[in-house]
Structures are given as structure tokens and as C-alpha cells.
């Protein structure tokens, strides 16, 4: 049992009939990491999380959380894990505070009131603590789900699209809270379709496509794959030939990839000489989105440590 590994996924497959929702996934997530699990709809992210949480049994393979096998040692494994499910579920019989107390009890945690209050405060739920969960708005229900995953202070926190349908304010408070938990040593696994969010939060990412990991690397390395920035200019008239500008379908916009910022000046000079008037200029930074799109389109597997 290697204590430094939070999650170990070894040769995990999950088949639904002929569909391979997970196809021999291998993955190790060290403790303390902020890990992003990305992929298009239906890639298998939620299925992977479900096998991790013991909600689904894998067709093949083994998974452990903090060294505890999720099947043979399921009670220990689940104590290590806090999962925010993707579906917006709630129990209409109880208030927010009751829900959190009950959830603490399921994990065998006693005298949890102080921590419950702290979670409520950090998720801006204090004023709703005595409201029935049925009466909450969608975003509020999402907050309760997040709170429920945290009641037992799990060392590993898995968030399956926690910001879907959540307003900007909560998104910011949520990430501040989760970052704090991460810096306190909690391991975070996040799935999201907001790639900027993943880009700014995650230290390592896996990209999943049709049940396979097609990319697994640190965020820095991944971003380095899109080596270049992009300069986009809006012109009056066509640019002179011989420039590395490619026209975009939207008309007056042209784009040029570049590596160093000193490549920009000569280009603008050539445009001026040719009598082109530059109406607007944009500089695009290398973005996770570019890698994501490239990886999902090409389908070539580029897994490194």
C-alpha cells in the first residue's frame, strides 16, 4: 500500500452490453493533486467516478482509494472519498441541516456541528440551513450536494461537474473553498466542461474519449503542446501575399500563429506598407481548449507520465 497514491485505477473496464464505457483505464493520482478529468459527453467520466465510488462494479480491473480496494475494503475506501454526483439529487423529506447531519451519521462521524456550520458558511448556505431541500433553487441544491460530499472531511474529493448551473459568485466561492481544501492536503478530482476552469485549477489532466485515456499529463506540458500564441487581425481589404496569415470564414479576420512576441512587429509593418488598415487586434494565449479539440479530433494517443 503506497500511501502517497490517492487513487489507483488498474486495468479498469466497464461494459454496458456491447458498449465499452471504460476500456482498460490505468491511472494513478498522487495525494495532494488537483486533477482534471476531461472529455466530451459520454466519454466515460461519470462511469469512472462511479466505479471509484463503488456505485458501479467494473467489468474488469481494480481500483483503490488511499490504498483501500473499493470492492474488498469498501467501507474504508468510501470513508476516504467524498463524491459530488453529477445528477442534481436531494431528499425532499429533510432540511439542509438535517441532510448534512444524516450524511455525517452515515459516515460514522459524531459531533460534527462545527464543521457543518463551516461548510454551510463557505458555500453560502447558512441562511438556507433550515429550509427544506425541496424548496431550494437548482444552484442551491448543487451547493447542498457539495456540502454533503464534505461532511466527513474526506482526504479525496471528487467533483463531477460541480459548477453546472451555478452562478458566477458561487463558482468563485466554491473554487476558493476547494483550493483551500487542496492546499490543506486534500486530493481533488474534477470533471468539468468549462475548460478555462480546469486550466486555472488543475495541476494534471486526463482526457477521456470513448472510454480510453487519450492524454494524460501535467497541465504545463499539455499547454506546451499548443506551442504557439495566435495573433488575429481584422483588416480593411485583403492582406498582401506571402504573409503567414490565414483568412477566417467570418470575413475580415485573419490569424497567424507565433511563438515570440517580436514576430508581431514585422508583420504589422508589412501590413502598413501594403496599405492595409488594421481595425482590430486580438492575441490568443495557448488554451486548453485548443489541445482538447485537437486531441478529440485526431484521436491519437499521447500518454506520458
Amino acid at each position: 500500500m503506497a500511501a502517497s497514491v490517492a487513487i489507483r485505477v488498474h486495468g479498469v473496464s466497464k461494459h454496458f452490453g456491447a458498449l465499452k464505457a471504460l476500456d482498460e483505464i490505468n491511472l494513478e493520482i498522487p495525494q495532494g493533486e488537483f486533477f482534471g478529468l476531461l472529455g466530451p459527453n459520454g466519454a466515460g467520466k461519470t462511469t469512472l467516478i462511479s466505479t471509484l465510488a463503488g456505485l458501479t462494479r467494473p467489468t474488469a480491473g481494480k481500483i483503490s482509494v488511499m490504498g483501500y480496494d473499493v470492492q474488498t475494503d469498501y467501507r474504508q475506501a468510501r470513508r476516504q472519498l467524498g463524491v459530488v454526483p453529477q445528477e442534481l439529487v436531494f431528499d425532499p423529506f429533510f432540511t439542509v441541516r438535517e441532510t448534512l447531519k444524516i450524511q455525517s451519521g452515515y459516515f460514522g462521524v459524531k459531533h460534527n456541528d462545527a464543521w457543518i456550520e463551516e461548510i454551510l458558511e463557505n458555500l453560502d448556505l447558512t441562511s438556507k440551513a433550515n429550509a427544506n431541500t425541496r424548496t431550494l433553487s437548482g444552484g442551491m441544491k448543487r451547493r447542498v450536494l457539495i456540502a454533503q460530499a464534505l461532511v466527513h472531511r474526506p482526504p479525496v474529493i471528487v467533483l463531477d461537474e460541480p459548477t453546472a448551473g451555478v452562478d458566477v459568485e458561487l463558482r468563485q466561492t466554491l473554487w476558493r473553498f476547494i483550493r483551500r481544501l487542496n492546499s490543506d492536503g486534500h486530493t481533488i478530482v474534477l470533471t468539468t466542461h468549462y475548460l478555462e476552469e480546469a486550466e486555472s485549477l488543475c495541476t494534471r489532466v486526463a482526457m477521456l474519449k470513448a472510454g480510453q485515456i487519450v492524454l494524460l499529463d501535467s497541465m504545463d506540458n499539455v499547454l506546451r503542446q499548443v506551442s504557439s500564441h495566435t495573433l488575429r487581425v481584422k483588416l480593411d481589404g485583403a492582406p498582401p501575399a506571402g504573409l503567414a496569415l490565414t483568412g477566417e470564414s467570418s470575413g475580415a479576420w485573419y490569424a497567424m500563429p507565433f511563438r515570440q512576441f517580436d514576430e508581431i512587429e514585422p508583420l504589422l509593418a508589412r501590413l502598413r506598407e501594403a496599405g492595409c488598415v488594421v481595425r482590430e487586434v486580438e492575441i490568443g494565449k495557448p488554451a486548453l481548449e485548443d489541445v482538447f479539440i485537437r486531441v478529440m479530433q485526431s484521436g491519437d494517443v499521447a500518454v506520458s507520465a
Binding site: T56, P85, D91, G105
Partner: protein, 251 residues
């Protein structure tokens, strides 16, 4: 068997208590209506076990309430949690399948008990009642509640939709309870139905339960106890096996 069990039991109890109007008051009213109608029609003509028909009927109605409400509690709680998806809160937690089973069954027994006691208290007003052997009353109420609570767990896990649960209720639970001697003595049936009733475990529960009141019964309460315990053991073992396998709960 620690805090996760007591919490789940507490949650299951709180759940029905919060809607006690539907889960306790409504079934009590139903039982009282049965008593009013049947005893009014038959009271002056029929004596069974040497007691007036209304007095004979009361233990049957009480037990029927215990059984039906125990079944309703575990089955409807589970199907609601499955349909709304909040069953995931229990499935994510380190709740052992034994704790899960016990919590649901005991909450079902408790609901059956609460309804049964309320029915008894209300009906006492209609007919004087004797309590010859109160321990047998208690034992059979618990045994019957546990059998039905366990059956409710199986039904709640098996059913994917509310109408499947309703079918389970209409085609299994209702015949089992109604063809068990709630309203009549088995001796008064044609011999075919009498023989058939002896294959119905619920018959023994009601017969034993009624023995506790009058000290008279169709079969010995010890035999009923044996049949009831055997049924509960088989059913519990079956339920624990499907829970351990995660049947329909963990895909």
C-alpha cells in the same frame, strides 16, 4: 453495527414520522372503516371463538395494519429514493449491507407497530378486548412486521417504477393478507381454501397474534412461531444476498 446503522434507522423513522398524516393517520382510518362496516353488518349474528364478531375482527385488523404498513414503509421509501436518485447518499457511504437491511426492516417494524397500536387504541372504543397472552401479541407483531418489512425491501429494490411496486402489492401482498384469516376463521372455509391457507405464512402470524388476545387459535402458537421464524430467516437470507450482490442498486 454502529452509527451508520442508527442514522439510517433514524432517517427512515423520521421520514415516515414527518408525513404521519399519510403514513399513520390514513391507515388507522382505513382500519376503523373496515371495523365499522363489518361489525355493523355481522355483529349480532356471528360469534367466533365465543366472542362477538367485532372483538374477533379487531386483532385481525390490527395485524393487517401492522403487515401492510411495514411493507409500505420499506418498499415506498426505497422506490422513492431510487426514482429520485437520492439512494446514492446511502450507496456512497460506508454503510454495510447488513446495516442497510436492519435499518430498513426495523423502521418498517416500527411503523407497523405505531399504526397497529393506534388502530388498537381506536378500536378498543368499539368493543371490549381481552389480552390473554400479551407476549404472543408482541412477538407476532414484530415477526409479521419484519417479514413484511423484508419483503418490502425486496420489492423496493426489484421495482423500477411505481406501477411495478403497485403490482407487487396488489398481486402478492393483498392476497396474502386477505386470505389469511383477518376477517374469518380458517375452519369456516371450504377444505380447498383451508389447505391453501396453511401454505400462507401470514395466516400463522395472524393466528398467533389473535391467540395473544383470546388464548384460542386454529393452530398452536408455537407452530405459528416456528413457521414465522422460518419464513423470516429464509426471506432475510435472500434479501441479504441480493443486497450484498448490489442487485439493481450497484450496476
Amino acid at each position: 453495527m454502529g452509527r451508520e446503522f442508527s442514522t439510517l434507522f433514524y432517517k427512515e423513522t423520521l421520514r415516515f414520522w414527518k408525513v404521519a398524516f399519510q403514513t399513520v393517520a390514513a391507515p388507522v382510518l382505513t382500519a376503523v372503516l373496515y371495523l365499522l362496516i363489518f361489525s355493523h353488518v355481522l355483529d349480532n349474528h356471528v360469534r367466533i371463538h365465543d366472542v362477538p364478531y367485532a372483538a374477533f375482527l379487531i386483532p385481525g385488523l390490527v395485524m393487517m395494519s401492522v403487515l401492510q404498513n411495514a411493507f409500505a414503509n420499506s418498499s415506498s421509501s426505497l422506490i422513492q429514493s431510487k426514482v429520485t436518485g437520492n439512494i446514492v447518499f446511502v450507496l456512497l457511504a460506508p454503510v454495510s449491507y447488513q446495516s442497510f437491511f436492519l435499518a430498513y426492516v426495523l423502521a418498517a417494524v416500527l411503523r407497523g407497530f405505531v399504526v397497529g397500536v393506534c388502530v388498537l387504541l381506536v378500536t378498543l372504543w368499539f368493543a371490549p378486548m381481552q389480552f390473554v397472552a400479551p407476549w404472543w401479541i408482541f412477538v407476532f407483531a414484530v415477526l409479521g412486521g419484519a417479514v413484511m418489512g423484508s419483503l418490502g425491501v425486496v420489492a423496493g429494490i426489484w421495482a423500477d417504477k411505481f406501477d411495478q411496486l403497485a403490482a407487487f402489492q396488489n398481486f402478492l401482498i393483498m392476497p396474502l393478507t386477505f386470505l389469511s384469516g383477518v376477517f374469518y376463521l380458517i375452519h369456516s372455509l371450504p377444505s380447498f381454501w383451508q389447505n391453501l391457507s396453511h401454505w400462507n405464512p401470514i395466516f400463522y402470524m395472524i393466528d398467533g397474534f389473535r391467540f395473544g388476545f383470546f388464548g384460542v387459535s386454529d393452530v398452536s402458537p408455537w407452530q405459528s412461531l416456528a413457521v414465522g421464524s422460518f419464513s423470516l430467516s429464509v426471506l432475510s437470507a435472500f434479501t441479504l444476498v441480493i443486497l450484498r450482490r448490489g442487485y439493481k442498486l450497484r450496476a
